[in-house]
């Protein structure tokens, strides 16, 4: 194999290098491409701020379905004889403390998510009081697990705010929280519809 030395004078001796050296040093495009590229980047940034759009849509769909089903159920159900009152007061005294999941500053959950959840929470609190104590304890314990997960994801999002995976996990965590409330509310149906 022939090796061409690259000292300054060698290109004068080698015809191929001599030809190459006569090629233009840069090639200008026939038109300025940057404005079109900049416009596309700008559009993309506007439409997809994060890889978050479709999970948000899924979450919103789930939320609407859950809240709608529960509100319908709430309107349709028979009024039970044991409403609030003594039962709730008695049960509340012994129940473990329940705190809804708090999502940190890096978690991109909007006000609308939290507002919808708060509406569900009203029914959840009533049903939670009516569950057997050990089940109530399990529910509260699992809400604490969801809280821990939400906090861990929030801390991770602080390091990598644009992570599609973390944002998906955050939404799954939020959905799990809602599903837990939903399970308790619908399960309480068996207790509430009494003669």
């Amino acid at each position: 194999m022939k090796t061409i030395p690259f000292e300054r004078g060698s290109r004068d001796k080698d015809p191929l290098l001599a030809q190459a050296s006569r090629l233009p040093q840069d090639v200008a495009p026939p038109r300025d491409l940057w404005p079109a590229i900049a416009a596309r980047l700008s559009d993309q940034a506007r439409t997809t701020p994060r890889r978050f759009t479709w999970p948000m849509a899924l979450a919103a769909g789930f939320l609407v379905a859950s809240v709608s089903a529960l509100l319908t159920w709430g309107l349709m159900r028979e009024p039970g004889p044991v409403s609030g009152g003594t039962m709730l007061a008695g049960a509340a005294a012994s129940q473990p403390m329940f705190v809804p999941v708090r999502y940190g500053p890096n978690s991109a959950l909007g006000e609308s998510h939290l507002k919808a959840r708060d509406e569900l929470l009203v029914q959840f609190r009533q049903r939670l009081d009516e569950l057997p104590p050990e089940t109530r304890e399990t529910v509260v314990k699992n809400l604490a697990i969801i809280q821990r997960a939400a906090s861990e994801i929030d801390a991770a999002l602080a390091q990598d705010p644009a992570s599609g995976m973390l944002n998906e996990l955050l939404l799954s965590t939020y959905q799990e929280e809602l599903q837990l409330y939903s399970k308790v509310v619908t399960a309480g149906d068996a207790l509430m519809r009494r003669s």
Binding site: P81, V82, M87, A91, E130, L131, P132, P133, E134, T135, T138, V139, K141, N142, I145, I146, R148, A149, E152, I153, A156, Q159, D160, S163, M165, L166, E168, L169, S172, T173, E176, Q179, L180, K183, V184, T186, A187, D189, A190, L191, R193, R194, S195
Partner: protein
């Protein structure tokens, strides 16, 4: 009574016994369609449903408390059985034991609070919701859905192509012998599944552990995600799939294919993307801090 018409044996059995706490032993029977819907609701105790080769529903009930009421309503297409407790007192732990015989193709909907549910030989669709009861059932070809808060569960498949779904808060659930699709979600607890010819697997957990064995059908889709729970996926060889695995701070291990690598030199996260065989199936797994392992044996 004409069974073709709205047959109602709407019998509210307010069988108050003369003495307090006397148990009530009750039985009811109704002729129904082969695929009738049977809805059962119980608070504490047990629900046992067994299939038989008659187009009839037979209920045998034992209510420990004389204050409980049993509601039994039947039409040709639908049977409703419900234990009603006038005022729920947690200190009163009286059981209601419901034993049902139903047609093989009956569709079951069971809702319990602290009652165990056992279903055997029923080939129709099943929807079982419990708060803290245990559930044991079988899956044939029709969908089986299990929702629990704290109860454990087992779903034993018989090799039929049934869409099985489990959502559990903290129980331990074991699903085996099913084909086709599976959908599982859990907060804590554990989920163990074994699926043949899997076309679609979707598994999500917060801190619960998932142990999945699967034989993947061509073009199968597998989606698994976890916040802090561990995910184990064992795929029956030969593996023909494309893998996309990512974790923020958990470990990724695979007993075949390349090793996981850091997502970038200075930040957290590791990932593993590769194709095994022709790559016809798609496997996507992600976790925040949970460990992920994939193996072919």
């Amino acid at each position: 009574m004409n069974n073709r018409m709205l047959l109602v044996a709407a019998t509210s059995l307010l069988a108050f016994a003369p003495q307090a706490q006397a148990a009530q032993n009750l039985s009811k029977r109704a002729t129904v369609a082969a695929d009738a819907s049977v809805e059962v609701s119980n608070i504490e105790g047990r629900v046992s449903v067994t299939a038989w080769d008659r187009n009839e529903v037979e209920l045998t009930a034992m209510l420990e408390s004389d204050k409980d009421t049993l509601e039994f309503e039947a039409t040709e297409q639908q049977v409703r059985v419900k234990v009603i407790r006038p005022k729920h007192d947690f200190r009163d732990s009286s059981d209601a034991i419901l034993t049902l015989k139903v047609p093989q193709r009956a569709r079951i909907s069971a809702q319990t609070v602290s009652a165990d549910v056992t279903v055997a030989g029923v080939k129709g669709e099943q929807r079982i919701n419990t708060v803290s009861g245990e559930v044991h059932t079988q899956a044939y070809d029709e969908p089986v859905s299990l929702r629990t808060v704290s109860g454990d569960g087992t779903i034993s498949g018989t090799g039929g192509k049934s869409a099985v779904s489990v959502t559990s808060v903290s129980g331990s659930t074991d699903v085996s012998g099913i084909r086709g699709g599976f959908d599982g979600q859990l907060v804590s607890g554990s989920l163990k599944i074994d699926v043949a010819a899997a076309e679609r697997l979707s598994l999500k957990t917060i801190s619960g552990d998932i142990d999945a064995r699967a034989e993947l059908a061509p073009a199968a889709r597998v989606e698994m995600e976890s916040v802090s729970g561990t995910i184990g996926l064992r795929i029956k060889a030969p593996v023909d799939a494309e893998f996309d695995i990512e974790s923020f701070s958990g470990e990724i291990e695979s007993c075949f294919g390349p090793k996981a690598r850091d997502k970038n030199a200075y930040g957290p996260g590791s990932e593993l993307q590769f194709k095994q065989g022709g790559g016809s199936a798609r496997v996507r797994i992600q976790s925040m801090s949970g460990d992920i392992s994939v193996c072919d044996h």
